[in-house]
Symmetry: C2
Subunit: 249 residues, 2 copies
């Protein structure tokens, strides 16, 4: 048993855990209405994918780990759904790859910033960026453009799970290496990513951390080999094929 009263081998365990965390997120002022709708869209795509990490997603997760380990200044971007769904897991990943965590919200309000920061602290996060908001992403309207100048503003590698398409596109246009977790292989976020990870965030974040631990002693040359071998359009095609041809019923 875990935080919800359902055995971990229940066939719908992951889905029920997701629901539980997202509803708690609403109660805590972390998850927005748009976040709930986005969660439902993700559920449908995950259902079509077979609710599993497909082989190409595992390769994308290993590549993301290599990018994060090789980075000068990696930042993990956290929005409401990320904080609600994988608070412990994202903090664990930040520790493993020595990355910063920055809160970035599509609907930015002081209340949601506070609630998400408190939620991350309660799960063990030390420093959390995103409050200074002294940097801007070019090409976005005022509130949506805000980042910390010494956070995402100066990052070379950014993990953006469940990011809005406009922001993902604008971050890519800044020349950042963008690692995107998104269950829709045809979303603009996935299409603009350096590494599109077409997987459920509950499976993806721990798996990136597991790959990072596995690669902890790898040389820069070994990391670069993994990175060079990755083909983003192949990953997108494989995910689309899985959605198209997977066993639905």
């Amino acid at each position: 048993m875990s935080e919800i009263d359902i055995p971990e081998d229940h066939p719908r365990y992951q889905s029920l855990l997701t629901r539980h965390r997202i509803e708690e997120g609403v109660e805590n002022g972390i998850t927005s209405k748009q976040g709930l709708i986005a969660e439902g869209r993700g559920e449908a795509f995950d259902y079509l994918l077979g609710e599993r990490t497909i082989e190409s997603a595992d390769r994308a997760e290993r590549t993301a780990a290599a990018y994060l380990l090789r980075a000068e200044h990696p930042v993990l971007s956290v929005n409401g759904n990320v904080a609600a769904l994988v608070p412990r897991e994202i903090i664990e990943l930040a520790t493993v790859v020595n990355a910063e965590i920055e809160i970035n919200l599509f609907n930015r309000t002081p209340e949601r910033m506070d609630a998400i920061e408190a939620h991350l602290h309660s799960h063990g996060a030390a420093a959390v960026k995103g409050r200074t908001a002294d940097g801007r992403i070019p090409g976005l309207s005022h509130e949506r453009a805000k980042v910390d100048a010494d956070g995402i503003g100066s990052a070379d590698v950014v993990l953006v799970p469940l990011e809005d398409g406009d922001r993902a596109e604008a971050l890519a246009a800044m020349g950042k290496i963008e690692l995107v977790i998104d269950l829709n292989p045809l979303s603009r976020s996935a299409q603009h990513a350096t590494v599109p990870i077409i997987d459920n965030i509950l499976r993806a974040v721990p798996n990136i951390a597991a790959h990072a631990k596995d690669l902890a002693d790898a040389s820069d040359a070994e990391l670069t080999d993994i990175i060079d071998a990755f083909d983003s359009s192949e990953a997108l095609t494989a995910a689309e094929d899985a959605i198209r041809t997977g066993r639905l019923s």
Copy 2:
């Protein structure tokens, strides 16, 4: 321009209107958290379907109209998302086919019953059933089983848009002719329907009403011909094929 400030020929008009109505539904206490997640799942399936009424869905909608017109006692079941998304449209359909409207909620609370009833009245509904709750659907737990004995309890044909799988299955087991609107052709609701309508409720309900108007003077024999020509497994297969092979990008 309509209730939202977007021209009706905007390529995302229907999607934006849906979002607007569903968010308003939350503000009015009509749409639940589960309802928002369900809305997101529907969006993903509609996206894969191409956000259009496929030919087999149009046939299903005409068949649903024939069943409603031929019925002794047709009832349209309304939950939170139905009330939020198509309040006028469902009242119009009830008028055209001379059906009753009954509120049925997966998460039944007096507050949500009140809010939905008030919402339907404000859109012109006269009598709305669902408050008496003196009937029970066999095989469901107490709150979930409640229906009006002289409403769904004694209906021969029930339209259940966006219904939960358990309830759809239990209604089918009662021997009722069940017309289901659901965007997932593999959901239990769709699988157990007499007529599965794999379409967005915003397109489906007005189209059933349009077919009913067109069939207003049809004889019982003509209605029966339409009904007999309909094949539910063919409709489910056609929808699954459309999802599998539709142009995604």
